[in-house]
Amino acid sequence: MKYRRIKTLTKKQNRGLVKIEFNWDGEPPMPGQFFMLTLERLDIFLPRPFSVFDFQNGVLSFLIKPIGRFTNILMNTDTFNIMGPLGNPAPLFKSGIFIGGGIGVAPLHYHAKQTENFVFIAGSLTDDLRFFISDLEKRGRVIYTTEDGSYGVKGVVTEPLEEILKEEKNIPVFACGPVPMLKKVKEITGGRNTYLYMEQVMGCGTGGCKGCAIKTKDGYKMVCSDGPVFNAMEVLFE
């Protein structure tokens, strides 16, 4: 497997988030899968995993929030190296409830687009996600929550989930976001029929180094080669 040199097609920015689009004629990714990215410069040594925000007509995109060194440099360069798709595809169902916290909506966006009937709950501090995911509104039901009340329901993303679950029973729930949010989702659903997109610092991305361990009831598992999507029943939180 090799890293391939990529040239950015477009960058769309809105309120601190950026969508990076580029041509991809490699293996098409399945929902749940991710790509490893490297920059030419050696002073950012480890590759970073990025999930697929969208893939259509040969154009692949990532949704990023430039907060660290890697993402800030990625913002200011037009070339990077990429390897993938990696990891296991998420289980696909006809229906689903998707719950994404902040930048965690990225992989769920691609996943929801391949689900016939869905409810998508997108939560953020402010109204920054709608600009990127409003295309979902014509495919399913989208609920926005903002903590500052600037759009949608004022509050946190897990609040509408309890209401939705009263109406929609036995529908799989997929969640991606910060650990406290994932914990809360697991608490609300009791872990039943719930799948969590997990994140961890990675080394190789291909199962070789055993770097990206998370705790599960069966011991340590690797986000890259056992995940990145895990059944909530098996994930252990601190």
Binding site: M1, K2, Y3, T38, L42, D43, I44, F45, L46, P47, M83, Q200, V201, M202, G203, C204, T206, G207, G208, C209, K210, G211, C212, A213, I214, K215, G219, Y220, S225
Partner: protein, 295 residues
């Protein structure tokens, strides 16, 4: 004529480039045929669950890791070896929490071409590095493993010691066929927002380009006292780094961390070495070995 083939303590290799232990786990991602030999992930008798996460962290120009030698034990490794046998030379990296465990693992291994004794992992408290800092233990373990093995035996040294020469000489005295200089350097990274260590294992092993001059120094130092071959390992990212290590006195080299960002690094290094030797009209790569000492 093959300008790159080397014999390391009886192990014939098509080139002096080895894949270091820990970065690859017998899956299909790495084209292992490129390497003179690959060293498999560290193995002990009954396996080890590894250290708590996070286990790996970018330190700019390098990596710090605290994997903690996660492995499924020697019997599982034997089954993995069965599937990759014949693709290139395979070397097992063995560790234990007692001197006897090293012997037991060595005895049970099947289908390997060499053994690398790991007495230098900084990430496990009950085995490895404590032995590796003692010339007496290194001699005892190396002699015991050598006695039960019919393949060449290498000792992977820790760089974290002021007795490096004594320890390497102890390995040589015990009959080791080569030493590997060296494992990672113990380090720590702290989250300045919480004041707590970032790695689940608290401390970790530092590797990557940032450590290269430190290890080149140790190879250079060992070349002056050792008769057996030295396999250099520390921060190699390019063919130029390989030349530098060989000029410092190495007979072969291992690459590790660079694989994280370039799975094809082996191919690029081999082609760079061939081109260099061609252009400089050098007959064989080891013709430049240790040359720096003469200047």
């Amino acid at each position: 004529m093959n300008k790159l083939n080397v014999n390391i303590g009886g192990l014939e290799l098509k080139n002096p480039l080895l894949l270091a232990s820990g970065v690859w786990d017998t899956d299909s991602s790495v084209e292992i045929e490129v390497y003179g030999a690959v060293i498999l992930k560290g193995v002990n008798l009954n396996g080890r669950k590894g250290n708590p996460p996070p286990r790996i962290y970018d330190i700019q120009c390098g990596v710090i890791n605290s994997i903690g030698l996660e492995n499924g034990g020697v019997d599982e490794l034997n089954r993995k070896i069965e599937k990759i046998k014949g693709r290139t030379k395979l070397i097992a990296n063995i560790f234990g929490s007692t001197v006897e465990e090293y012997k037991d693992v060595a005895e049970r291994l099947k289908g390997i071409d060499g053994i690398e004794i790991n007495v230098s992992c900084p990430n496990v408290k009950d085995s490895g590095i404590a032995f590796g800092r003692s010339p007496e233990y290194v001699e005892k373990i190396a002699a015991l493993v050598k006695k039960v093995s019919n393949v060449p035996v290498f000792v992977k040294l820790t760089p974290d010691t002021d007795r490096l020469e004594d320890i390497a000489l102890a390995a040589e005295k015990a009959g080791a066929d080569a030493v590997v200089c060296a494992n990672t350097y113990t380090g720590i990274v702290i989250d300045i927002n919480t004041g707590k260590p970032i790695l689940g294992g608290i401390t970790g092993g530092v590797s990557g380009p940032c450590i290269k001059p430190l290890t080149v120094y140790r190879v250079w130092k060992l070349r002056r006292v050792l008769k057996i071959p030295i396999i250099a390992s520390g921060g190699i990212a390019s063919w130029q780094d390989v030349i530098e290590y060989i000029m410092a006195g190495a007979d072969a080299v291992e690459i590790g961390s660079i694989i994280f960002r370039n799975l094809d690094a082996g191919t690029e290094i081999i082609s760079g070495l061939n081109k260099y030797l061609e252009e400089k009209n050098i007959h064989h790569i080891l013709d430049i070995r240790g040359g720096v000492h003469d200047g």
